[in-house]
Every structure is written in structure tokens, then in C-alpha cells.
Symmetry: C2
Subunit: 166 residues, 2 copies
């Protein structure tokens, strides 16, 4: 798999920074279950946070099996070929987070900055943050331009560092 | 679960008819794998067709385990609360289709009508159509407005029939 070129790297960073929603894949009775979620990314792409109700199917799923996959896609802009839309699939494990402490408070501020309408969820006991630390990523910059990335390569892209092999 | 009201039904029909892309969930080594796909729906919502390369991960996955989940989402239009975007998750099994015959020819025409840039895939031996017959659907018309639908209820929505219980 080729090392990402600078253009692909910029495309990946733009894609992740702009995406407010993603689609989460969980296991439900051993079968795939996909659902839309709101997403906040860590600046270094080492974590992707979700704020979920424990009543939601995907939350029940993750409580039983932490393995998840999360995709963020460019929005369909009505171009002729939607297969050229950029998208990235992250894979890893999801963990639920404590609802107190300094990390919670700073995450809450960042979340509300991005999703102000979500304030009500901080009044409801059944909502909590979940974190996905991506183990790897598969980035499709467009038709036929696919890059398999380790967590380290994802972090390097976030920093804007060039490929060490180039 | 409530029967869909007429407004929710119109929203579901609009969502499925407009969606050219979806996110497919498959099983990869027993874990969820999600990826973007181009989608064409049958007019009665009884089938959702994909055109895939056998080299793609999701195709390899479905060849080993047919269970899939497919979500189509409204595009993020920068509204304050993206949780109000409409989306529907379909669940069922995927089957690969023959690359010849009257059904193939009519599907090819419909596919090229929607995805003209996909013509090249009809010159390549590794591409084929896959079909998902939804067993059920979970439609989120917006925050807190969720409807679980059987395949029959999905078909009824496609026809624009009102809920028999309303």
C-alpha cells in the first residue's frame, strides 16, 4: 500500500475535521448494525468521541462487544460520480467514559462548542461519552486511491507531517 | 413502536429516493466493517442494489457471511443539530447476482442512468451486482422519532399507502 501523497493527506485531514456525523458499525446478535452518530475528533486523530444514550441500540451493542468501525464520508455534492467522494473507515474498540473529572469537563466544552443543541443530553442520566481509539484506518481518497493507515500514520497526517518514505 | 405518520412516511420515501450513497456494514474477521457504497433502490424498496468489485473488502466479507446492514443518511446541511438528520438502517442478507439475463440488463440500464461514470465497471470482470432484500428497517426521522419497520411496512411506505392502524 502506497504512502499517502501530500494531496491525499490534506484531503484526509479536511475530511475528518469537517465531519460532524459518521456511521458507526457495531455487532448486534453477531450481525453488523450500522447507525448514524455525531462525532468529535481529537486534534491528533488519536480519539473519536461519541455522545450516546444507553437506550440506543449501538450503545447496547458496544456494551456487549467493544469492537467497532466508524466511517466518515464527504457529503454527496451531486457530482457525476459519487464513488469519487472521500471517505475513511476507522477500526478499533469503543470504551465508555466517566461522567466527571477534568477530561470530562474539557470534552463537554468541546462537544457543546460543536453541538450546542446537545446541551440537553447533559441533563439526562442516560447519556455518556464513548471513545474510539482507532487501531487502523482505511482512507479512500477517490476511486482507486486507497490507503491503509496505522494509528501512527493517522497521527502523522493530523500533524501535517510528510511521509517518512517520500 | 408507533406507526409512521404521513409526514414521517414522506420523509422516509424522500430519503431513500434521493440517496445515491449509503454505508454498508459487513463482518470482517467477526468484527464490524463499514464502508461507503453507491446504492440503487427498487421502486418498491424491496431490494437495494450495489455494484462492487470482488477485490473490495466488503465484497470479500459478504462472500463469507451474507449478513449486512445498510444505512442511508440525509447529507449534513450545516443545521445546528445534525442529530435531527433523517436516516434509515436496513438489515438483511446480501446475495451476488448473475452477470447476464433480462434482470441484469434492466438493472444495468437503471444503474447507468443513476451512475453514468460507472460504465467502465461493465468492462471489468471483477465487478458484479449485489442485492440486499431488507428484512427490516429502523428509520430515525429526527431526534426521538424512531420507527421500526418490517419489510411489508417499508413496501407500504414506498407505495405511499397510509398506516392501516391510523
Amino acid at each position: 500500500m502506497a504512502c499517502m501523497d501530500a494531496e491525499a493527506q490534506r484531503s484526509l485531514v479536511r475530511l475528518i475535521r469537517n465531519a460532524r456525523i459518521g456511521v458507526l458499525g457495531t455487532l448486534r446478535n453477531g450481525a453488523p448494525n450500522v447507525s448514524m452518530v455525531a462525532v468529535l475528533h481529537a486534534p491528533d486523530f488519536s480519539a473519536f468521541w461519541l455522545r450516546l444514550s444507553r437506550l440506543a441500540w449501538h450503545t447496547q451493542d458496544m456494551a456487549l462487544d467493544a469492537r467497532v468501525s466508524l466511517v466518515v464520508c464527504e457529503s454527496d455534492d451531486a457530482r457525476v460520480d459519487p464513488q469519487t467522494l472521500a471517505r475513511v473507515t476507522l477500526r478499533g474498540e469503543a470504551t465508555s467514559m466517566a461522567a466527571a473529572g477534568p477530561q470530562f469537563e474539557s470534552l463537554k466544552r468541546a462537544w457543546l462548542d460543536r453541538f450546542p443543541a446537545s446541551a440537553v443530553t447533559f441533563e439526562l442520566a442516560d447519556f455518556s461519552f464513548w471513545c474510539i481509539h482507532p487501531r487502523d484506518a482505511r482512507f479512500v481518497a477517490g476511486l482507486g486511491r486507497t490507503f491503509n493507515l496505522s494509528a501512527a500514520e493517522l497521527a502523522r497526517a493530523a500533524k501535517g507531517d510528510s511521509c517518512p518514505r517520500s
